[in-house]
Symmetry: C2
Subunit: 349 residues, 2 copies
DNA sequence: GCTAGCACTCAAGGCCGTAGAGTGCTATTG
DNA sequence: CAATAGCACTCTACGGCCTTGAGTGCTAGC
């Protein structure tokens, strides 16, 4: 009991940090000799061995097998991320690329999100995923029924975030443009500046009855509105899965398979980003903290970004637990900031 | 010279078909003994050996190494697909799943495309990708500038296919709803029923000058229109990459990596689906026919689907060259047909 | 024209043995 | 008494060697 458990003395801290650093760089278990040879520790390998044994007892390191070096445990990485690593700055080269690529990207929100995802995947050399902006208090702004052909049209719902939903419809009778306009106007009057989640189908029915809109129009509007309401869970953009293949930990194909499946299903991804969304700050989840059996070898860095005063989304980087945390945090944060700026500057160049 | 090259006698055809069939099932080079044991050929393995040697001379089969069995070449697969295999029917179970899942899918075009892609990926056990409907003669239908907040708004362009583009904008002065409406109306008058590709920025400038719309509005409209014009190359939805991992040919990670990259970049995918789009019929591309060094081990089945009278998109299945062509063609065709029906029935239930 | 038999080839897989990195323990030292 | 040097021990990775077995082409005979 000579150590206060949970607080590492300076030398242990340095050794742990060095083990994590070295393991991130090489993907090989780190031994005491390697450590004393490559780094100026000022003590012999035997001493390092003793310290490492204690770090293992404290739960910061584990040994894959008896005669191998040590690798960090979840707790070891956690300690490293929270206290030991020094914060990194983004290189000016990275900074420039982020700025330039986002400047040249589309003005369309969906496409901008896609471009950002690909950019982040490329720069991080890992798998990036980005949630579209989401706003708890998304407000109804406009609905418009538009005549396309004598018997078809489209209903469009616009909210504070832009076009939130569209629904094509077909009618059994010829559509009269005046009817569409009248119904649109009545709906706009009724729903102006209400929160999207509060807009109820029954309201649509009332308005429809009043202006005499037929069932086809009514259905189109109901469909569009319900789709706008459900945009709380928009698809998540992902890019860079192929980067993971370079990492030795993914030579096991079963792992890779379940990762691809999880990314495609997206459900788990929402749970992962929830914290960062709630705290509005950088979140790093390591291994088992991801709460999924299949993701124990992985870590995720998540950073929120803002869209206007009320909406928020997240940028995440998913990679092996053995990821360069310092660089990836800086990268995600830098990208998030540039993206936020780009989004609050919608008038472009 | 006893054979007319290019025409296979009945026995050779049967042997080739059986080799392809067996290789598709087992992924192992097929030898003469296996063949005589598993299938009723009525001749001995020595005879089969002679026939196989001739099939190899004719370019239909290749030998990975001297003492291995044969595997089909591109030409062998081509012969199999074009003439030897018997067309398959979809099981009623598959038929039902396609119908049910597409019926329950979203009314929103983008989401419907996504759902279809995932469905096709799951049923085919390969990687599926789907292009959104595209129309050569896409026609301008409506443009609307919508007030969101005192200094922000959104410009929306609607074409025959629905919302084609939106562009958020910000103004340095307060926006007056009347100005937005006036500009919208003037633009609608000017562009009504013109083809999107013909709408030129200069037209926007003229209209803007006439109604006195300021630079911010003008820019928003120009941006939205140019984005609508560029929707000739909409993003392609892809799903099921993880299915490829089950195939032994992808245990080479470099292959997998380049496939994932190609799917993410999408550029090559457009070239692949072009034929099916042009011919409006099923297209099967085998190995080198895909025109890409990196895709030589793969094949793609592509089937077009229709959206309304003029628009068309494609469903594709990408998998190992050793794919069950009969089943996948039936699957893609069945899905395309159901999707086309679903899309021409936009008033839903 | 088909088949049986035979000698030959080649990849895959199992089985060593060795090399090398790393460990824990103990005796020794400043 | 913390730090070190020395030592015996452990375990994996790797390369070489051999065996196995599937498959082939060729030739002689039916």
């Amino acid at each position: 009991m000579r150590d206060d458990p949970g607080v590492l003395d300076k030398r242990k801290a340095y050794i742990l940090a060095t083990v994590v650093y070295e393991y991130i760089a090489t993907a090989e278990p780190v031994g005491s000799q390697t450590l004393t040879q490559k780094y100026q520790l000022g003590v012999s390998s035997a001493t390092v061995r003793n310290e490492m044994a204690e770090l293992e007892a404290g739960g910061y390191l584990v040994q894959p097998h008896t005669s191998a070096g040590r690798i960090p445990s979840d707790a070891g990485y956690r300690e490293y991320v929270d206290r030991l690593m020094e914060p990194e700055e983004l290189s000016s080269e990275d900074r420039r690329r982020i700025r330039d690529e986002l400047r040249d990207a589309s003005h369309e929100l969906d496409e901008l999100v896609e471009s950002t995802t690909r950019l982040l995947g490329r720069l991080s050399n890992n798998l990036a995923f980005v949630t579209k902006p989401y706003q708890q208090t998304e407000t109804f702004k406009h609905i418009q029924l538009i005549w396309l052909s004598p018997r078809t049209g489209v209903a469009i719902v616009v909210t504070t975030l832009g076009v939130a939903a569209q629904s094509l419809f077909e009618s059994t009778d010829d559509l009269r443009p005046d009817d569409l306009t009248r119904f649109s106007n009545a709906l706009n009057d009724r729903f102006a500046d209400r929160q999207v989640r509060e807009v109820i189908d029954a309201d649509v029915m009332q308005v429809a009855d009043r202006v005499g809109a037929d069932a086809n129009l009514r259905n189109a509007v109901v469909t569009a509105l319900s789709s706008a309401r459900s945009s709380e869970r928009p698809p998540i953009a992902a890019a860079g899965a192929q980067n993971l293949l370079d990492q030795p930990e993914f030579h096991d194909l079963r792992k890779l398979r379940s990762i691809l499946r999880i990314v495609e299903e997206q459900k788990t991804l929402y749970q992962i980003v929830a914290d960062a969304m709630a705290n509005e700050s950088v979140s790093v989840k390591i291994g088992a903290e991801l709460g999924s059996e299949e993701l124990t070898d992985l870590s995720v860095v998540t950073v929120p970004y803002r869209f206007g005063p009320h909406a928020m989304g997240t940028l995440s980087i998913l990679g092996p637990r053995r990821m360069p945390y310092g660089r990836l945090v800086a990268l995600a944060a830098g990208t998030a900031q540039t993206l936020s700026e780009r989004l609050s500057d919608t008038n472009g160049r």
